[in-house]
Structures are given as structure tokens and as C-alpha cells.
């Protein structure tokens, strides 16, 4: 028994020395001498000569001049990778995708081919009828209690707005407490559904959203107001609009544009996705550089083709481009985006 313990300790000691000391040191020497670029994280330098990111790690881009990476469940935080972990059956996944689609989807055929769907969503929203019933927002909150609650918790100003509303609607709150005796002092998020139902009836065809305006003394103030158009309506209600218009022929969006990756740091997008974004990118660079949009589009298209790579030369996958690498080349070629 004691002999086995002492032998165990010897084996452990030898293992620590060889496996934790010598083995990583050998690989470290190989890495640092033969492959220093890779061994130090594949760090690229930017136009100012400073490290700008890793070739292998996605970073966020929001400007229209740049190609945008896949959406990230990790918010592109390379010190805490994460996936969405949403099951295919979970409505939150469909909702997230629908919200991303609403503002960008266009018609594929018909008289308005190529035009955005978004204005039609707003027009439909103002009529305030879904599936033949009035009050879209009330129906939305009834069907998706979790999303209604999430809206309230999304921003302190939202919760504040609901609190103010609750004070001016004591009878609705009292009714809610009667229905939910377990929660005698409901928080803003608890009241979300009741709030949206009442809001929808009082403000048909509107949704509460942040509005920024200038006051007379030149300050900017952001308040929550009932609005009849804007990004919130285009994104949140796209899925319901789609249910009311199942036959509308819409242009398909490449899946990697709206679906998050496993790590949240996938550095690539498919070439198909890049080409989908090409018009936006080319138009914006043409405006910035005051050059011919057709020429710029051709240049950037050629750049994409040059950078496109497929796993195993296309034997096991489709062509894709590295977003940071392409954007870095755009930045070097056309200068600073406006």
C-alpha cells in the first residue's frame, strides 16, 4: 500500500517534469523559431503599424464601407468565446433571425424587385391588423410573453417607461395582481404583457421606441415615445408580417449572415454572403472616394475573388473570405472611411 503510494508519487513527479516541463517547451521552441507568426496568435498589423487583430479572430464591423462578419453570440469578445446555445425549436432563435432580416430583406420578383420590404412592414403595422384581428402589438405580447418581458429589461429607460405607465393605470395593475396572487408587488417586467395590451389599444399602429431630439437649448434628449416607423418595427414585427404575407417572393439571405457561429469568433463569411453585401460596400466606397461606382464595384469584386478560399480546395466546402483580411485591404486601398 505505502509502496504503491510512493511509486505513484515517483510516477507523478516524472510525469510533471516531462509532460508539463519538457513537452510544452519543445513545442514552444518549435513554434517560436519556425512558426513565430502562428505561434503568437496570427496577429496582423494595421495601416498605422499597430496590431489590428488576429487573422483567425472575427472582429466587429458596423460601417457600410466594410464587409460585416457573421453575427456573434460572444459580442466578438476574444477573451470569452460563446455560442448562442439556442435550440432549433426555440422561438428565440427564429425571433433573432427575423429581427436581423427585417431591415435588409428585399423583394425578389414583381414590380418592386430589389426594393426593401421594410416600408411595407411599417405600412402594414400602421393598419394594426394581424391575422384578421386588430392590435398587432397586443397580439405579439400575448404570443411571446418572454420577448415582451425582454423588451422591458433591455434598457433602464424601457423599465422606467413601464413604471410610469403603471402609476397612471392603477386599475390594470390591480387586475394583474388579482390574476397573479403570488406576486403582490409586480416589477416592470412582470407587467410587460399587460402594458403592451393596454399600449396597443391606446396607441393603435404604434410601438414604444427611443426617440432622440434636440431641445431648444441645443442638448440632445432621448425619450421613449409611441412611434409608427423605424428599426424596431421593421425588425420586431417582420416575422408577423411574414405570417400575413407568406407568398411574398423575397430574396434569400445567405444563412451565415444571420446565424451565429460556434465560437462567436468565426473569421470567415461565405463568398455568397460577401457578394450579397457587395452593392452596399461598393456604393459607399464610391461615395467616399468620389469615384465611379461601377469601377469600384468591379475592383472590390475582383478583390473578393482573389481572397476566396474553400476548405481543401472546394472538396469539402464552399468558398469563403476572411473578413478582417478583406477589410484591411479595402482600408489600405481606399483610405479611411468617412
Amino acid at each position: 500500500m505505502s509502496r504503491y503510494i510512493s511509486t505513484s508519487l515517483w510516477l507523478l513527479l516524472f510525469s510533471v517534469v516531462i509532460l508539463c516541463g519538457i513537452y510544452p517547451a519543445v513545442l514552444w521552441v518549435v513554434g517560436q523559431t519556425i512558426f513565430p507568426f502562428q505561434a503568437n496568435g496570427s496577429i496582423l498589423t494595421g495601416p498605422d503599424g499597430k496590431p489590428v487583430g488576429s487573422l483567425l479572430i472575427a472582429q466587429p464591423f458596423t460601417k457600410d464601407e466594410y464587409f460585416h462578419p457573421r453575427p456573434s453570440a460572444a459580442s466578438y469578445d476574444a477573451s470569452a468565446s460563446a455560442s448562442s446555445t439556442l435550440a432549433a425549436s426555440n422561438y428565440l432563435l427564429r425571433d433573432r433571425v427575423a429581427r436581423a432580416l427585417g431591415p435588409i430583406v428585399t423583394y425578389r420578383s414583381g414590380a418592386r424587385a430589389g426594393q426593401l420590404v421594410a416600408p411595407d412592414i411599417e405600412a402594414w403595422f400602421r393598419l394594426d391588423h394581424f391575422a384578421g384581428q386588430p392590435h398587432i402589438v397586443a397580439q405579439w405580447a400575448d404570443a411571446h410573453n418572454e420577448l415582451a418581458g425582454a423588451w422591458v429589461n433591455a434598457d433602464p429607460s424601457h423599465a422606467q417607461y413601464v413604471d410610469t405607465w403603471a402609476k397612471s393605470h392603477p386599475s390594470v395593475v390591480a387586475h394583474w395582481i388579482k390574476d397573479n396572487p403570488g406576486t403582490p408587488q409586480p416589477k416592470a417586467a412582470d407587467l410587460a404583457v399587460a402594458f403592451f395590451e393596454a399600449f396597443s389599444k391606446e396607441n393603435p399602429g404604434s410601438f414604444p421606441a427611443a426617440v432622440t431630439r434636440q431641445t431648444s437649448d441645443g442638448k440632445t434628449v432621448t425619450t421613449i415615445q409611441a412611434v409608427k416607423e423605424g428599426g424596431d418595427i421593421q425588425s420586431i414585427f417582420f416575422d408577423m408580417w411574414r405570417q400575413d404575407h407568406p407568398t411574398a417572393d423575397l430574396r434569400e439571405v445567405p444563412a451565415d449572415m444571420v446565424m451565429t457561429s460556434g465560437s462567436g469568433l468565426d473569421p470567415h463569411i461565405t463568398l455568397q454572403n460577401a457578394l450579397y453585401q457587395l452593392d452596399r460596400v461598393a456604393t459607399k466606397w464610391a461615395a467616399d472616394t468620389q469615384r465611379d461606382p461601377v469601377k469600384i464595384r468591379q475592383e472590390i469584386h475582383a478583390l473578393l475573388e482573389e481572397n476566396a478560399q474553400a476548405p481543401f480546395g472546394g472538396l469539402v466546402g464552399e468558398e469563403m473570405v476572411n473578413v478582417l483580411s478583406v477589410n484591411l485591404q479595402l482600408r489600405k486601398r481606399y483610405g479611411n472611411p468617412s
Binding site: 503510494i5 515517483w10 510516477l11 516524472f14 516531462i18 509532460l19 508539463c20 510544452p24 514552444w28 513554434g31 517560436q32 519556425i34 502562428q38 505561434a39 496568435g41 494595421g46 496590431p51 487583430g53 488576429s54 483567425l56 479572430i57 472582429q59 464591423f61 466578438y76 476574444a78 470569452a80 468565446s81 460563446a82 455560442s83 448562442s84 446555445t85 439556442l86 435550440a87 432549433a88 425549436s89 426555440n90 422561438y91 432563435l93 425571433d95 391575422a131 416575422d239 404575407h245 407568406p246 430574396r251 439571405v253 445567405p254 444563412a255 451565415d256 446565424m259 460556434g262 465560437s263 468565426d266 473569421p267 461565405t270 455568397q272 476548405p311 469539402v316 466546402g317 469563403m320 482600408r331
Partner: protein
Amino acid sequence: MWLLPIALMATATALAIPLSRYAAWIMEGEYRPPRILAWFERRIDSGSQTWKQYAAALLIFNAVLFVYGFAVLALQPVMPLNPQHKGMLAPTTIFNSVASFMTNTNLQHYAGEVHLSNFSQIFFVILNQYLSAGVGFCALTAIIRAFRGQKLVGNFFADMWRVVMYMFVPAALISGVLFIQQGMPMTYQSAYQVSTLEPAAMGTTDSGQAKPQTIVVGPVGAVIPIKMLGTNGGGFYGMNSAHPLENPSAWSNFITTLDMMLFPFTLVLMYGRMLKRRRHSWVIFCVMALLMAGTIVWAIYFDTLKPNPGLTAHPASKTFTIPSARSPGGKQEFTLPAVARLPVDQHLGNLEGKELRFGTSAGATFAAVTVDVTCGAVNCEHDSLNPIAALSPMAGMWVNCIFGGKGVGMINLLLFLIVGVFLAGQMVGRTPEYLGKKVGAREMKLAMIALLVHPIMILGPTGLFAATTWGTMATNNPGAHGFSQMLYQFSSSSANNGSAFDGLAVTTGFNDNPNPPPAGRQWDIATGLVMLFSRYLPIVAPLAMAASLGYKKPTPFGLGTLRDDTTTFGCLLFGTIVVVGALLFLPVAALGPLAEHLGPIPFGG
């Protein structure tokens, strides 16, 4: 599409043949080590042991390893190589992690890049990944020797030394160089801060400065080779082999997948070589390969060739009538409205949780292989697999013998084999025999103990957690998928696999975490215990069984003897695995992935 899995299976098989010859040569002790290594060997070789002494040495060594691992993790804040001053993990998480890495499970209730310093990655993760893989390998070797009728089954410590130093280290060094060339970091640094190309795209700090992106690096190139070769699966980064620095390219993904298949394939053939029954081992190999192909095809068919059903159209509205005590007449009608499809081009299959650079079918292939060989690394988010596709990884863990982990998979298969031989014997009314020895009541009892630990350790705790708020508070997906998350966690723990449906809230993290998940500690302790029970009972009981069987007198080969190297025997083995596996787990499969697949999609929200 199919090229990737076919190439992987073919390459692994081709490499396993010469490797099995090498492995048998090493384990039989026929090599002559260089003088310096021979000195180490003499120091730890305490002489040949009986099976009981061997088992005792194995358990004592693991106990020592447990104490060592606990100390390393608990002392993380005061150890070197920790420039970010990472603190101590919660004690329950330390227990869970130590149990997890010691049992070759590598279930991670923490995220590597967030919670571990480079010191812990090297001195805890790497060390355990080598040694825990070695333990299973040694156990199988001892069982083989016992089957041969040897009273003395070798020396555990010498076996460990041989496995680790002469097999794992050379293979890991080769893989490591290839991985670094492909883009894996290999540095003792911890993190870089870079200013993004579009300033302030990461947001701004309170003082209006653009936030940098922090890129965590480290000795990734040293951890990953043994993580894969030892079928450990515990990643350097939280998102494991999906992380671009842990799996930078299609080539690294290919080698990664190949690495985890390599030794499990080899061990089956080594079994035949050491027993001098190579045809028999090829029959077993083919049965396993067939099962593996089945899980891969299932995963690819339902995940890569089908779109994510959450975004597609469900054109007809459906009405269900369900029994309800509250509504009049005892029945309630539910109508699910028709669902229109979202305009998303899903010709690449379900891309949620998948990376692009590995190839189209790489996520599904990896998901199936990683559970078959009980590696537990993941290169896509299993939580987001299509519902019915997720049945493939679950089935792999339930059966737990499709090549299986280092040695342990082969041992599990031997249990199914004994049961199969027993059933066949019952059918023809003869005393069952294996390797020419009569299988008696004692062997059957030991085999059944080892075999039943697994379902008990999965179904019991899953039931407990599903029935209490410990489980329901931890799931982040509604309905049947929430149940699947709990089921998967315990299946993974009991199969010593280590992959997970990551949405389950089990990461307590640092001890001073102000917002721990509601049932994090309960999950830590429960899965930790499951891992320990499901590891050591199925090692010790089969060792006892092999000894008991091996020391019997051989019966002469006759006309009525069940031949173990024929297709018939292969079918018998295949049937036993499928039938026993299905009998044990079909009910929970119906409650989890099958219910989710057939039920309303989208659901909840």
C-alpha cells in the same frame, strides 16, 4: 459532403494497423529503451502484479492524482504564469473539474480562457489528459493479459510509463507541430490587446475611449494534441474545437478528428494481436465501424442536408387534442397556426453554431465521432443541432462502445460481447463460452454490474434534476429540448465523454462570482459523482471478470462451439448492442429529441 467522413474513417483505419503492431510491441515489453529512459522505468517498475494488486495500484494512483489536481487548481491565484490574476474557482467546480479530468471525461463547468491561468492549463490540464488516457489503456492491457490466463497481469506503473512516454508523447509532438503550423498559438503569454480596424466597433469605455479587443492566447499548441489523442476533449478555450485559435483551418480540423479516432481504432486491433485472435478483433472492429458510420450518416443527413427547422415553413396548421383535467369534457384542443418560412438560404444545412472553415459536413461528422470515441471535444454547438440530429451524439454516449475512449470503450464492448455470448448460449441451450472458456454466473454478474452502472447513472440523476428546480432552473431552452439538455449532461458525464449542450447554466466560475447560476453547485457535485462512479466500477468489475474467466480451464473446440470470428458473430454482437441500448434508452429518447422533433417548432418564447 461525404468525402470528409469517408477520408477520416479510411485514414484512421490505415494508420491503426501499423500502430496496433507498435502498441502491442510496446505493451508486451519487447522494446529496449534508451539508457536514460530505462533508468526512469527501473525506478517505477515495482514488479508484476496480480489483478487485484494491479487494480489497487490503479486506484491509488488516481487518488494521488486527485489530490494533486485539487491542489493545483485551488492554488491557482498564487501560482506563476497568471498575469491576469485569475482567482480561485468555486470549490464545487474544482471538485467537478478534478473528477472530470482524472476520469478522462473533461466535462468543463468552467471556460478555459476565462477561468484558467496558463499554469493550470499546463500543470493540471495537460498532465491529466496524458495520465487519464493512460489509465484506460493500461486497464485494457491488464484485461487482455488476464484473458490469456496470466496470473500476473503486469505492472501498472510500468504500463503507464510505456503508454504515455512511448505512444502519446511522440504522437502529440508530431500533431503539435502540425497544429502550430496551421495557426494554433504556442506561447507562454496570456493575452494581446489590439485596437480594431474600425475604431470603437467593440464599444467605448465610460471615458469615451475605444475599447480594444482582447485576444487570449497561450500554450494551445501543447494542450490540443493530447486533448485529441487522449480522447479527453477538454479545450483550452470555452468553445473548444470551434474556437478559431484551437482549430484554425480545415486541415487542423481533419488532423484533430483523426487524432481522436487514432488510438481507439488501434486498441481494438491491439486486442486481437495480443490475444492472437486477429480475425476476432477485425469482426469487432467492423461492428464498431458500422455503428460509427451509422451515427455519422444520421448526423449529416439530419443536420447538414436539412435546414434548421426553426426558420422553415410549416405550412399546415395542426390541431391536437390533449387530455386535461381542467377543461370541460377532460379534453383540450390546441391549434398550432401555420408558419411561413423566413427568406434564408440554408443550402449549407443548419449553420447555427457551426464554423465555416472546416467544411460543410464537418460539424455533424465531428459531433458523431467525438461521442463515439468518448472524446467530448466539439467543433460546433451541439445545443443548436437539429433536434433529431442530436439523437446521434446521444446514442453514441448511451451505447458507449463505438470504439469508445482509451481502452474503456473496448472494455465496454467486452461487456456487451459477454452478454451477447450468453444470449446466444441460452438460445441453443449450451453453456456460453468466450475465448474457449466457459462463462459462468460470476462473470455474468460482474459484467452486468459494470453494464448497469451506466444507465443507472444517466437515468437516475436526470430524473432527479428534471423533477426538481435544480434542473428546470438551469435550462435555457423550453420544452423537450430543456429535458434533452439535462439528459445530455448526465449522459456525457456517465459516458466519461465531456461534450455538452452548452446552454445549461452550470458555470459557477470563480469562487467570488457575484451571480452564480441557481443550481451550479448541485450540478457540479452530481455530475462529478456520476463521472467517478461510471469510471472506476466499469474498470474494476471487468478486470475481475477477465481474471475469473481467464483462469478457467479451456474447453476443447468442438462442433457446437460458437465461433467468434465470423459474420454471424458480428451480427450477434451488433444486435446485442442495438437491442440492449435501445431497451435502456428509448423512453428518454422519446421524451427528449424525438418529442422535440415531432412537436411544435418554433416553440415557446
